[in-house]
Symmetry: D2
Subunit: 299 residues, 4 copies
Amino acid sequence: MNKYMQGKIHSFKEENENRARFLIKCPDQPGIVAAVSEFLFQHEANIVASDQYTLDPQGGQFFMRIEFECPNLKEKGPFLEKDFSPIAEKFSMEWKFMYVSDLKNVAIFVSKEPHCLLELLWEYQSGDLLANISLVISNHETSREMVESLGIPFYYIPANKDTRKQVEEEQKQLLEKYEIDLIVLARYMQILTNNFVDNFKNQIINIHHSFLPAFVGAKPYERAYRRGVKMVGATSHYVTSDLDEGPIIEQDIGRVDHRDNEKDMKKIGQAIERSVLARAVKWHLDDRIIVHENKTIVF
Amino acid sequence: MNKYMQGKIHSFKEENENRARFLIKCPDQPGIVAAVSEFLFQHEANIVASDQYTLDPQGGQFFMRIEFECPNLKEKGPFLEKDFSPIAEKFSMEWKFMYVSDLKNVAIFVSKEPHCLLELLWEYQSGDLLANISLVISNHETSREMVESLGIPFYYIPANKDTRKQVEEEQKQLLEKYEIDLIVLARYMQILTNNFVDNFKNQIINIHHSFLPAFVGAKPYERAYRRGVKMVGATSHYVTSDLDEGPIIEQDIGRVDHRDNEKDMKKIGQAIERSVLARAVKWHLDDRIIVHENKTIVF
Amino acid sequence: MNKYMQGKIHSFKEENENRARFLIKCPDQPGIVAAVSEFLFQHEANIVASDQYTLDPQGGQFFMRIEFECPNLKEKGPFLEKDFSPIAEKFSMEWKFMYVSDLKNVAIFVSKEPHCLLELLWEYQSGDLLANISLVISNHETSREMVESLGIPFYYIPANKDTRKQVEEEQKQLLEKYEIDLIVLARYMQILTNNFVDNFKNQIINIHHSFLPAFVGAKPYERAYRRGVKMVGATSHYVTSDLDEGPIIEQDIGRVDHRDNEKDMKKIGQAIERSVLARAVKWHLDDRIIVHENKTIVF
Amino acid sequence: MNKYMQGKIHSFKEENENRARFLIKCPDQPGIVAAVSEFLFQHEANIVASDQYTLDPQGGQFFMRIEFECPNLKEKGPFLEKDFSPIAEKFSMEWKFMYVSDLKNVAIFVSKEPHCLLELLWEYQSGDLLANISLVISNHETSREMVESLGIPFYYIPANKDTRKQVEEEQKQLLEKYEIDLIVLARYMQILTNNFVDNFKNQIINIHHSFLPAFVGAKPYERAYRRGVKMVGATSHYVTSDLDEGPIIEQDIGRVDHRDNEKDMKKIGQAIERSVLARAVKWHLDDRIIVHENKTIVF
């Protein structure tokens, strides 16, 4: 990590040492907002951002993200968590409490094509992706140089259908060792086993190189070219055991025309993949995403 | 008003008869959200949407829009307003209370070019712009036919620099008669006096045919063409006494290239003007906009 | 047709009385451009716009659209066509010759939802869609009023699966009577028989309310909502006997988020349908589209 | 330069060894296209792409970009150039002849903020920006590490108002030594003298961090924030002696809202600056841009 990044991260941590977030999901009923805001007020916390959403106002689900400043957060945090428990219980909440200054540990998986990895490293270098990129795992050596030049450990683990189990075993040990919070599949072209995926529920973000559900599966650019579409797209989503069917986080598209052959479409698409994946990863790091059934709420 | 629209409006009113909104602006301090949400909870109102924003968290301004369902709103509404007063006073709030089923009365001003007027009438016809379009005032006869075919009164009031005062007098009488809540300048090419503007603070929405602050003033497409820009835009804003300097509500742009002459730019721009103005008007009708100094908060 | 439109059409015809276009498709080989441009030069025609495209430069297909000014076109046109034949034969061209001032006759088919029809009428009224809208055919009475108010004949032909043959017979007679060049399915919810479609090859434009090939078939907004996509789209295409599989002319998309329910998605999507269909129709009217296999070249 | 890039460049050169381009600008008159295409046909060249544009068809300017394949181009190139001269003379053409496989030599100037430089290096690394990045010149040491890690020479030349002359002298010597074809000001915050600019007419591309002509001059993000705009933009243009007034090559914008403070606007804007500059540079390298008076034709 160079000095520029170190400085960025240092000042981010300092600015946010008293800042925390609640992510909440529970059955809707009157009084939730009142209870949560009253709780924060009693604990001398000042709300700086609050988003809420009710799915199906009659008897539906309630979702909330609330960010606040609280003096002496380091000391008071554990008490906040403890005191919040009865409220959470009363409203049957699923909830998370996060300290903004605790950066998440991220592992990036990549195969041959480096564009998505490069984008993440770019954002990381310029201080816009605030996380610890703890390691990069690849089934190819291609990206070693650029990863190591940033002081990030690079692990080459060759993979194919037959070795899947051992490979994932090796990967899991690394993920444990580095205490990884988020796995980003930055164009990692190996299928993960259900077992692996279940271990990291809503913690694996993938980028698919089409506007899902169009062109689910392999070779989307080739099929887009053959169909004669006028736009190509990309989709970032949490990985579930159903290939390309996980909750969508973000999508975007770009224009193509008859002059663009399959190779051009791929080039145009790669620029979209880069930004769609980067946005999804940053939203996850900012605790902006709540998964509900097969969809995401992105605050 | 045709039967299709009547049906749309009728079912909208029915669906929203128990729905109301608060728009709030006050100095930031801890406890505001707690107080408002506790108040609603006590009055058996269920929050269905809530947005808030704090400008400059240290000693800044707090803004809130909160929409709720309350059984028997018609009867309880006045009590809600009355009971809210002490809270409003405590936090030095500027606030508004709105019944969603009370449609606003809108006057549209237009000159020769009908595209923005047509868009608003289009949205009105299809039930997407939920308001009473009470009258159209124009300094040209061009649009009379299409306006009257929808059963909307059309007033032709010729205007020029020298008759400004009498013209505005006539206009004001009409606006009063129809109890107008919002004036939309849908490409009305006459300048309004400060006196007129001051009478309708944050109640007049204009569409300017450029991406402000580029090309403030007259003939923006001509100047855009001469400068060789690669995009043309449009800006909707509240009208203040400073021409083209009022709080911006919405902007958008469209691509042009060297093949587009001034006339083409105008055509491309007009499609943008249409949608930018329609969005701004709908946000205003939905009570989504709070003006603060020379800016808008759009929830 | 009101006076404003009559004026627009009149001046368009006058400005373009000496303007014509060639649309050309042939196997690629050296010398095509030289032959065509030399031909026009010999006939005193000045090229004002020229586009060409070669699909697969090695032994592929060549496509060209060329627009030119030629003094006394009315008289010289037939000779131009006759003299061009040997060149066309030499290069095995499929070609069309069009006078710009000859407006095309258009029939619009619509069912209940009027938004796409309204957009086309809007563009027609404002002089941006230069064609004769000769008639509107619908299996519902809903749009009669707005169509007839513009002086356009409206034919109500109820339709269902069992009456398909008679219905299409009736429609064909009308299309013949009005010498229709282009049929626009502006949300016409009846399936056409292969027989009907074959009669109007590359002359029927449909709007599908999804970003094809995602959500082929019925209820795309419902399925988009269930899948949790972050964008909805629309696709205009020529109709072939394969439902939703014809050559795509234009596509566009709009953002949605978790707050948008199925109804909201539909509203957002309808605005996209309107503009996507209008663009496709205008490109067809401008002779900008060449169909090749299952794709379009749009110049 | 790493092996991946070397491979990309090598295969690009091989694929394009027989490919060349003409860029043409002349007064419009009949017969130009016929003459140029006949010339290429006679020289056994096959046109693979051709774009033309006539500014003001009555007595205006004609612009053309034509790309072709010609067997044994290396040997025949000089004869092509020589033989074309009489045609060029006849039509009073300004023209350029370019071999596609001759990569241009590029110098990048940068100050403290590295995002635009990084984007160019990114595109360069991934083989999408096909040029020789010959050197980077900066008045700060910040970017030395990342530049040198790619094997590109980095020159630190401190600069301020008073040393402008000596600084530019030093820069000119470097530009000469490296035979530079294009200078990219990737957020270089020093003003260049007219003398320097005149030396590199239409060879210096700058990125300005606003949607010109809005916010000409210093601190555009700060001013955009104060004005309350709903979009921020970026503009790439050729540098002329008039600051921020040179011919615009490309512009783009991104949405902001009331939640975005000046710092957020800057972050959103920087992503736009990156892509707008990269597009402009790539179009220049592809010989797609013709400057005419104060505008660009971008084919």
